[in-house]
Every structure is written in C-alpha cells, then in structure tokens.
Symmetry: C2
Subunit: 419 residues, 2 copies
Amino acid sequence: MTSILEIGKRAKAASFIMAEMSDTDKRDCLLRVAESIVDNADRIIDENKKDVVLAEERGTSPAMIDRLKVDLKKIEAMAEGVRQVAELPDPNNELLETVTRPNGMIIEKRRVPIGVIGIIYESRPNVTADAFALTFRSGNACILRGGSDAINSNTAIEQVIREALSKKKPGIEESVQLIKDLSHDSVNELMKMRQYVDLLIPRGGAGLINNVVKNSTVPVIETGVGNCHIYVDKDADLNKAVPIIVNAKTQRMGVCNAAESLVIHDAIIDKALPLIYEALHEKNVELRGDKRVMEILNDSKDVVSATDEDYGTEYLGPVISVKTAFSLEEAIYHINRYTTHHSECIVTEDKEAAETFLKRIDAACVYHNVSTRFTDGFEFGFGAEIGISTQKIHARGPMGLNALMSYKYEIRGNGQVRP
Amino acid sequence: MTSILEIGKRAKAASFIMAEMSDTDKRDCLLRVAESIVDNADRIIDENKKDVVLAEERGTSPAMIDRLKVDLKKIEAMAEGVRQVAELPDPNNELLETVTRPNGMIIEKRRVPIGVIGIIYESRPNVTADAFALTFRSGNACILRGGSDAINSNTAIEQVIREALSKKKPGIEESVQLIKDLSHDSVNELMKMRQYVDLLIPRGGAGLINNVVKNSTVPVIETGVGNCHIYVDKDADLNKAVPIIVNAKTQRMGVCNAAESLVIHDAIIDKALPLIYEALHEKNVELRGDKRVMEILNDSKDVVSATDEDYGTEYLGPVISVKTAFSLEEAIYHINRYTTHHSECIVTEDKEAAETFLKRIDAACVYHNVSTRFTDGFEFGFGAEIGISTQKIHARGPMGLNALMSYKYEIRGNGQVRP
C-alpha cells in the first residue's frame, strides 16, 4: 500500500503538471473518464456488490444501503456529472485585475489552481467521481479519502479514472490519489501534511467535519451543517409562507439546506400556526414548540414541547422546532444565536423588515420569500458544486469551480527597483 | 483582568454593530482616533518608557530597543497611518455579482466583514494602532494580542483608541479588545475560540507564525516568511540584473520581501557573478555559493561555501546564497523546492523564458525584471496592508482591506419553492 507521504508527494508533483494543462486537454480527459465509467459499469457494480454484502452483514440500515448501492442508473448519472463538469469553462489563468503602477510596472492578478486538495468523505461512492472531476477541471490534483464502507467501490472507480487518464495523457493519472489505508492514522497524517496538501474539504456529517476542523493543520473549508430557519414575520403573506415552509422542510429531508426551525411573529401566530401545522402534519412532520405554540396547538397530534437543545438541532428528518418571537429583533437575535451560518429565510411583505433581516443575519445565504432549498451550486447557476461552505474564509455558501482556485500576482517591468 | 472568553464574547457582540456602521461613521471614528493619538502623545510615550526600561534591564539589543521605542515622530506616523486608512473607500456591502435565475429569484453576492479578527504580533507598538485601523475600516471587530515587551505601550494605545471611540459612539469601543493576559494559556485559548473568532492573522517571525498555524482551530492566514529568489537567466541584461539584486537584497535587509538567494544560469555566470559580487560586497553582503561560484570568486573576501541549509534560510541580514543552474528548468525546480511562496523574480530579455517562469513558479508574487521589494500593499496601490499572505486560501500576497472581507448571498423572491 502506498504510504500517505508518498501519496502526498505524487499529488504535489502532479499538481504542477495539472496547472499547465490546457483547457482542451482537461476537457478531453474528463470526457474520456466519463466514457470509461460507463464502459466499466460491470466492474464497478461488481466491486460495489462486495461493499453492499459487507454492509448488509454489519446490519446497516436499508436507507444507508440504498446510498451505498451503485446500479446502472447511478453509473450513468456519475458519468453525466463528469461530462457536465468537462463542459464548464476553465477558470485557470483568468485575469481578475490589472494595474499599471506609476513606475511603469504592470501588475496582473490571475486565477491559478490551489494545488493539492484533499477531500474526506463518507459512504456515497459517486463522490469519488464527482470530487475528482471538479478538482481536475479546476487544474488541481486531489487526494481522496472515502469511507471504509465504500472502499471496494471507491477503489474500482479510482482505477477506472486512472486508467482512462493514463491512456489519454500518461503520468496525469497521478493527479488522483485514493487513500486505501482506512486507519485513523492515515487521516491524521493527511491532516498534518502541510508540505503537500494545500486545502482540505470534509464532506459528511457533523462528526466528520468537526474532527477535521479540530485536528487539521492544513487549511480547511468547513461545509455542510445547516440548522436553517424560516422566520414568518408579522407582515408575512401566508400564501407564500406555508408553501415555502413545506418545501424547505419536506421537499428533501436529509439535506443541509432543509429547514429545521420556524420562528413565528406573535402578532400572526394565531392565524399562521394552524395552517402551517395542517400542511406539515399532512407530510408527517412533528412540531416541537414553545409555550405559545403548545397553547395554540393544544392536544394536536405530533406536537410536543421543545427543549433548548431542539433549537440547536439539525434533525435531517421529519421534525421541526417552532419558536415565537415578539419582534423582528427577537427573531434575528434567536436565529443568530442558533444559526450554523448556512441558509436563513424571512417571509414578509414588509420590505424594510426584509432588508434588516438580510443585512443582520450572519449566514452564507439569506432569503426573502424564497425557500432555503435553493442553496445549491446548480440552483445558483454555478454548473457544479463541491460543497456548501459555512465559514467566512476563502469561500462562503455553494462552492463552484472558482472556490477551488487561488490567484497569483504576475508583475512585469524593465528593471524597476524600489527607491 | 477580563477573561479571554469574555473578550471573545464582547468582540463578537461588537462585530454585529460594526457590520451595520455607515461609511461616514467608520471614517469619522478613525479620524477622531488619529487626533486622540496625537493629543495623548505624552501618555503613550510615558508608558512606552516603562517598556523600554524593562527591555534595557533584560539586556535587549539596541536594534530591538529601537523598534520598541515610541517618540513624537512615531506617534505622528501612527496617527497618519490611521488617517490614511480612514480615507480608504468602504468595502462593505459592495455588490460583487448579481444574477436573476430562470425562476425569477435574484441572487446578489455582496461583500461583508468577516466578523472578529484576532491578530497576534510581536514588539512594535505601532501594530496596535495599525491593525485596529484596518479591521475597523473594514467593519470588523478585533482582538489584539501583542508581545509582552510592549504591553505598557500597547495598553496605553488601546486605551486612547477606546476612549476616542466611546466619546464618538458609545459602545463601539468594544470593537477593539487588547488581551493583557500574557500567559501562553491566553494565546492558546484565543486560538481555540472558534465560536467568537472568525480569523487569526499572526504577524511576526517564523516561530510565532508556525505556532499559530499548528495550534489554531480558528482559520489562520499565514503571513510573512520570505525566502525570495532572483534568477539571472542566460539572456539577462546585467544592467538590469545588478541593480535589481542590489535593491532586492540591500534596500532594506530585515524585511520579508528582501532577496535571500540568487540563482544564476551557467552560461552567464562567468560574466555576471564578478559584477554582482562587486556590487554586493560594496554593501558588505556575504555570498554563500556552490562549487561553481567558489571557482569563479576564489579567494574573494566574504565568499564562503553554501550548505543545503543555506538555500532554505531567510537571513534577514547581509548574507545571500548563490546557486548555479544549468537550465531554466533547473532554476524553476530549485526555486519551487526552496520557495516560501512569497516573491520570486526572473531577470531576462527572453520573453518566453519569463512567461515560463511566471507561470511555473508557485509563489504569491512572480516578477519579470522587477525587484521583489515591491511586494507590499502600498506599492501595489491597495492604500494599506495587514500583512503578506504566503498561503493560497482566502488571500495571497499583499493583503489590503478586501482581504479582511467575506461575502454573503442575498436572495430575493416572491414565494419561489424548489420543484
């Protein structure tokens, strides 16, 4: 098994070759990879079956098995994802700014790849193809560390990718390196390898992300956890509020941009809450409310008292917390206290209240009369997404190709010295 | 003494007020602070004298005492620095991108302050005023942790700033928090306080920076270390090369953008090296060279053999290492091996060689026929500088006000839900 240090070295060396690859070459390589994924469907599916059998033996839940399983349809989706990334414009070398200084030297600020990007992720094998495609298109090398439950699937996909690359452009296959050592030590080593790894992106649950954030000395972009709120203002149009709440909570439950908490203004709660309850109850969503909520919905089915912990919980399932606010200020204060800085929404017809909310809420994406479910690279029109950043450094919100880029200053002159 | 946790809480609370402050208010506050610094010159100088006496008692070097000492001229320079920052345009709320999606929702990407920025620095008390001004102008709150040798000076400057702010806009003085607890524990606590601190910028020597990079769980921007190279290509114009080398090495020795190493093409070294030696020797610079260099300069004064360690050393003084390269490729390989990713220069009349160098060298600033000493926020026209980033995440190279900003997405609609 290749050592983690050796993997780092190879990826770093490959990153220099990647940085000089032409737009066309990167595109062609990715199209070739997409083709190979489809051509090698049987091989990937066979290896995936090993993972599925092992998962079943371990008593893994059907929902998790479903995420792990790869079939022909998922293979096609994987290939199509790679094809779509292939067709994205090359961000490399883009001129961001240029200035001629009084002494005649010309400063150009140009986009360049970051170098080596490490991605640590869980279960779903499609992330292997997906993360590779995005880092490759942006001219970076990648080191992938998937979950142990998908190791056979991930290894097969990595091999198919590497074979396709080496046929197209020998040597360039070193730009993708899957870590097969599943020990904790291998992750720890990866997280400390500052000399070879420029950025780490953890993709997965809160436990995985916190572990990386706490232990990495390589810079990290924190992604994903979303305790998203919908605030129903006193001047909300309930014909907008109810559909937005139902969409944000139930259109897909297990995702980071799903709503997990409602804040409702006291002046409208008597009218709003029964309608909201009815709509959510129909979708089998349990409400966890404060005293005011319990008074209004007394004896209703699937309504229980909220604890303080509820307001800080990302349920990722059919539960939502509900809090009464007696003013816009209280709503903003409550949301800023419990926010994970992901996506937050106000529903109101009062423009001034909306602007106050958008400015004062400290989150990557702040919505006025729109479902939080739109926080997504594709929905934003980026054509791709490597994750959703919930921190403020480097990239915030949905991360497209540009989030995988750095820049450099190129300065040209004719002998300028500093006086 | 206020606890570090309490300092974090207060700074975070202040950051929300800062984020909403108008351009005019921020400007006026800074101008008032500049005035107060001058008005309180005696008080600051008196407190500074205590630090100087203590430093002398400890046997501190005259050079260090000189950096520590504050006199009327330095007070005026400090105030002028704050005034200049006051006059910079406000980056807050700047519209970076806007797009109307097919469903009618409008996405605006706007610049917003990062929040709370911690700055850990050494000796020079002017950094206290400087770092405050930059974070304040960009709408951030700051937590400052200066060196123990300047604690009385830093405390006096912080008090003058806070008094001026509280007179101008009561409460806003909480946006600047100096840590007076000089224990290691206080720095450690600051570096782990993710809930209140959004970014840490260490400013100082390699030891300080490495400590922060290794131990912080708060995102860090690495600054400063510069093992900068000048590569004299075979097609170099020596009338440009020699002045650039002398400028980059000797115009100011103790700074991060000073040259520390020369790489000279074998085809030109016989002609170039004696001229370079003569010019540097006149400035009392010692050369540490490889075999080829020793052959050419045999028996010359102040020329010694270089070790491998020399090529990795940032001397910050009158020494420079010299290496022979037999090709452009070898020069690039050598520089990419020893670079600290700060500033690197090629001197050549061959445009193609220059472009290859600029593209392939992995550094924040790459120069063609220009001294590396220009890597500086003021020289780049940013009007200010909080430091020079040598990493690729968030900000690279000289960091002006925009490096202290994040962004957020504001999405406005009329009830859009995700299909």
